[in-house]
């Protein structure tokens, strides 16, 4: 069979799935995408808030994108627009002394010249390490214990890249890679607020506090990739991230991908000998396919689409042990006018606003999360996208989108009766940071990790499709022996964030998976 005749069905239309589908269609495969929701994009995309407002659904900023993918798919031509780029990070302080980080410059909150220098030094050294990670991101990770030439080559080049960083960076790598961000930041500076702000990037969306091991990897992960080649810089996408999803959809369609919306997949169909024959949809429809590519998380892929009975027990066990504890919630507010945050000027309101006053604060807040409780003061990443994009709210009105961290999926008291309480608590907290905000609220919405699991179909509401830790990273992601986008079922591949290199709006996993599929199936 030539690849022209091979039919591929992609499960899910998240950004990685669409990237993968588009690459494959461009290579000549016949590709159909099945999405359970009524729009593409998965965790990124525009979302209605009440009648008159729109917000970015879950992800609200682009930071570590893989630009090679964006270029290859020609997303700009297909409609991708940034409403704001190179955002500064404005870090709130309850006492009103905000800290402003702009690339490697930092200002405000009584920061001294010495501390500014320390920040520059930190940035320089971390950027080098992030560069090393990035060099490993763009290709499939090597299989361990393999004697395959490709595997040996990529393992060798990983080693070579580490060596090429120079002796100092290599020693940084060995020293920092498996430890925690708390110890690393303490080594660089004494400025608590600055450290809290930086540590926030390490823990956002991950089940960890600053003192948890592996929190350096997650920090470096945030620094890989970036819009316009600026690593770790944040950008806002126009139309509440809608222009991004729209451009992905256009690029896919242009390449010949058929996208089926409201088409929830029930399971993969097999012959008695476990050869893939296609998909069965929840509405009873069947679709024939030779190859299945799963853009959903590994646990759902194997537990639901394949079913444990069709897999060796060892595989089922490993997949079910992938840690997927979601702990980021999403808060959406529609406001009748611009809020006023303490210590923030009006033109800083459109920047990325962070609330994370210190590492001790983060660690203490995480303690609640660890034990299935919730602190009454939560770290947040806040954006007001309507400042840059007037289409999101009626004239003069605004929308606020915040990722609220340390909101546990497994809340001890259960979510049923707690959701409105936690929403009120978040609003009160914001009202303390931006006095009067409460009175401006027209609409509000709070998505807990459980809501995110239900609506977006991600186990545990874990944004990254699996926590990003050293044992679930590189050749161990999602689980050992499955790190190359393939699976124990022949012709079943994985292309989502659960695979290398992991979560975030990057598109790299989708691209890498497509490359592997082309290699194996052509």
């Amino acid at each position: 069979m030539t690849k022209k005749n091979k039919k591929i069905a992609v499960v899910g239309a998240g950004h990685n799935a669409l990237v993968c589908a588009t690459y494959l269609a461009k290579a000549g495969f016949s590709v159909d995408v099945f999405e359970s929701r009524s729009q593409v994009g998965g965790m990124i995309g525009k979302r209605k808030l009440g009648e008159d407002y729109s917000v970015p659904g879950t992800a609200h900023l682009l930071s570590h994108v893989d630009e090679s993918v964006f270029k290859k798919l020609n997303l700009k031509k297909h409609g991708l627009e940034y409403s704001a780029q190179d955002l500064k990070t404005v870090s709130l302080n309850p006492n009103g002394n905000a800290l402003v980080i702009n690339d490697d410059e930092v200002d405000g909150d009584d920061i001294t010249m010495k501390e500014k220098k320390e920040f520059k030094e930190l940035n320089k050294r971390m950027a080098k390490l992030a560069g090393f990670l990035e060099s490993a991101y763009g290709k499939k990770p090597p299989r361990l214990g393999s004697d395959d030439r490709d595997d040996l080559f990529s393992l060798a080049s990983l080693g070579l890249n580490a060596r090429m960083m120079g002796a100092d960076s290599m020693s940084d790598l060995l020293k920092f890679i498996a430890v925690n961000i708390y110890d690393v930041l303490n080594e660089f500076t004494d400025h608590d607020h600055l450290k809290g702000t930086l540590a926030f990037d390490a823990i956002l969306g991950n089940h960890m506090g600053p003192r948890t091991n592996n929190s350096v990897i997650t920090y470096l992960h945030q620094l890989t990739g970036g819009v316009n080649g600026k690593n770790g810089s944040h950008s806002m996408v126009s139309d509440g991230t809608g222009s991004f999803t729209k451009s992905l959809e256009e690029a896919a369609k242009k390449a010949g991908v058929n996208i089926h919306l409201n088409a929830s997949v029930e399971s993969i169909s097999f012959t008695d000998d476990l050869e893939i024959t296609g998909l069965r949809l929840k509405n009873g429809d069947a679709f024939d396919a030779d190859i299945i590519v799963s853009g959903i998380d590994p646990r759902s892929t194997f537990n639901c689409l394949v079913g444990p009975k069709k897999l060796e027990a060892g595989v089922v066990h490993k997949v079910n042990n992938v840690r997927m504890r979601g702990n980021a919630a999403k808060l959406h507010l529609a406001l009748s006018s611009k809020p006023k945050f303490k210590g923030i000027s009006e033109d800083e309101l459109g920047q990325r606003i962070v609330y994370s006053p210190s590492m001790e604060y983060l660690e203490r807040t995480f303690d609640f999360n660890k034990y299935g409780q919730i602190s009454d003061d939560l770290p947040m990443e806040i954006t007001i996208p309507s400042i840059h994009d007037k289409t999101l709210a009626p004239k003069g009105h605004h929308v606020l989108s915040a990722i609220v961290n340390y909101v546990p999926y497994h809340l001890k008291e259960g979510w049923e009766n707690s959701k409105s309480r936690v929403l009120d608590q978040c609003i009160n907290q914001l009202d303390g940071l931006a006095p009067g905000l409460k009175g401006l609220i027209v609409e509000s919405e709070f998505l807990t990790p459980v809501d995110i699991e239900e609506e977006y179909g991600i186990t545990g509401g874990q944004w990254h499709h699996g926590e990003l830790t050293f044992d679930q990273f590189l050749m161990l992601r999602p689980v050992p022996k499955m790190a190359q986008y393939s699976s124990p079922i022949s012709s079943l591949y994985m292309c989502g964030a659960g695979s290398h290199p992991g979560g975030g709006i990057m598109g790299t996993a989708g691209k890498n998976a497509a490359m592997e599929i082309m290699k194996r199936e052509s």
């Binding site: 476990l274 027990a313 124990p488």
Partner: protein, 396 residues
């Protein structure tokens, strides 16, 4: 239910202990898992010959017993074991091995298809965790019954006669690997025509409450059939003659191995007949398919060695004096009248016509001697009497 007071004693006594301790005139005990059982009772050679010429009774109670029960039981065992389990019909027993993800043998055991949707696995090692891990997604319930069920091996040419004399109707009609449930003093008792001796013989599973009375009645009825108790030392000789492997002796239990490469796949243990690669999935399949493609690292063989000095622990060489393997079990077989052994050979060991030469050390009046004896590979069992298969079983 597992015993709760294990910390008070270092070992448990089996339900037969009251009698076995009387019969154990050598007071020679050995620990088997959590229990103490006789290593030998009076004389190992006579215990051995009882199994070959009349009947020997073994206390198998410490054998680990697992029950797998539920709607998906067949599907479950078929995924757990390497062989085709659909071929083990109702009231039949099958020998089976199971593997880890690397296709390495974890343990071997016998699987009893006890009832519709109910299988029992009898094995040397506890497998509850492996069984539970394997149960994700299956409608099965898994229990360990080791301490609730007493077990005896009744092995030898007169064994059918003894059970018949005890009132177990049509026991002689059981074919090898058949199971039959009987009622005994109001309790269910399960007799299977199985054993670890390669001879006519039965295994009896019963609740602890009737164990002692069964034992006493059997010895009373068995006296004229020369029934004897036998210990684990005699059993080891019998199983080597029968061609049966002992986990932890003939192969490393995969989970206990420390060094990579010290474990064995079923192919490397001469058990390829227990692997059915045509099944869509089973634990270890992917690795075994790969091994089949690439070739195995070891071969397991039965050897007939010249001379009469058992080759226990011997190195094996070819004629060029290159080490090609090691002996795992060895004995001089009184029944086969041959110096027999099992050995694991490194692949590829046979270049053209390699000889196999065993380096055997033995003592004479405390003096160590060494001989180099040539060995030949045997493919048939060392000892394989017709009575093992004859149905109806011989009655006396």
């Amino acid at each position: 239910m597992l015993q709760q007071n294990h910390y008070l004693k270092s070992v448990y006594e089996t339900p037969f202990h009251e009698r076995t301790s009387e019969l154990n005139i050598l007071n020679d005990w050995v620990r088997w898992k959590d229990y103490t059982v006789p290593n030998s009772y009076f004389r190992v050679d006579l215990e051995y010959f009882a199994a070959r010429n009349s009947t020997a009774v073994f206390d198998y109670t410490p054998m680990i017993k697992h029950r797998i029960k539920g709607k998906d039981a067949l599907e479950y065992v078929n995924r757990f074991f390497t062989r085709d389990m659909t071929k083990i019909g109702l009231h039949r027993v099958g020998y089976a091995v199971w593997c880890d993800e690397q296709g390495q043998v974890i343990d071997d055991g016998t699987v009893f298809h006890m009832r519709e949707n109910e299988y029992w696995l009898l094995s040397a090692e506890r497998q509850l965790e492996n069984l539970e891990v394997s149960a994700i997604g299956f409608d099965v319930q898994i229990d360990e019954l080791t301490d609730d069920v007493a077990a005896l091996g009744v092995q030898g040419p007169t064994s059918a006669s003894i059970l018949k004399a005890m009132g177990f109707q049509e026991i002689e009609m059981l074919k090898p690997f058949d199971i039959k449930h009987y009622s005994y003093h109001g309790e269910e008792i399960t007799i299977s025509r199985t054993g670890f001796t390669g001879d006519l013989g039965y295994e009896v599973l019963m609740s602890n409450s009737v164990a002692l009375s069964f034992y006493e009645e059997m010895f009373a009825k068995g006296e004229i059939y020369n029934i004897k108790p036998a210990g684990l030392e005699a059993l080891d000789l019998l199983r080597i003659e029968a061609g049966l492997l002992q986990p932890g002796v003939d192969f490393m239990i995969a989970e206990e191995a420390i060094r990579p490469g010290s474990t064995r796949s079923p192919y490397e243990l001469g058990l390829s007949w227990l692997v059915d690669l045509s099944k869509p999935v089973f634990n270890g399949k992917a690795a075994l398919v790969e091994e089949k493609k690439k070739g195995s690292k070891y071969t397991f063989v039965k050897l007939n060695i010249n001379g009469n000095k058992p080759a226990s622990g011997s190195y094996l060489y070819n004629q060029a004096n290159k080490k090609i393997g090691t002996v795992t079990s060895a004995m001089f077989s009184p029944s086969a009248k041959a110096n027999i052994a099992y050995a694991s050979l490194h692949e590829p060991w046979k270049k053209e016509k390699d000889k196999i030469i065993a380096e055997i050390y033995y003592q004479k009046d405390l003096e160590w001697n060494r001989v180099m004896e040539e060995a030949t590979i045997v493919t048939k069992p060392f000892f394989d009497p017709d009575r093992k298969r004859a149905t109806p079983a011989e009655l006396y």
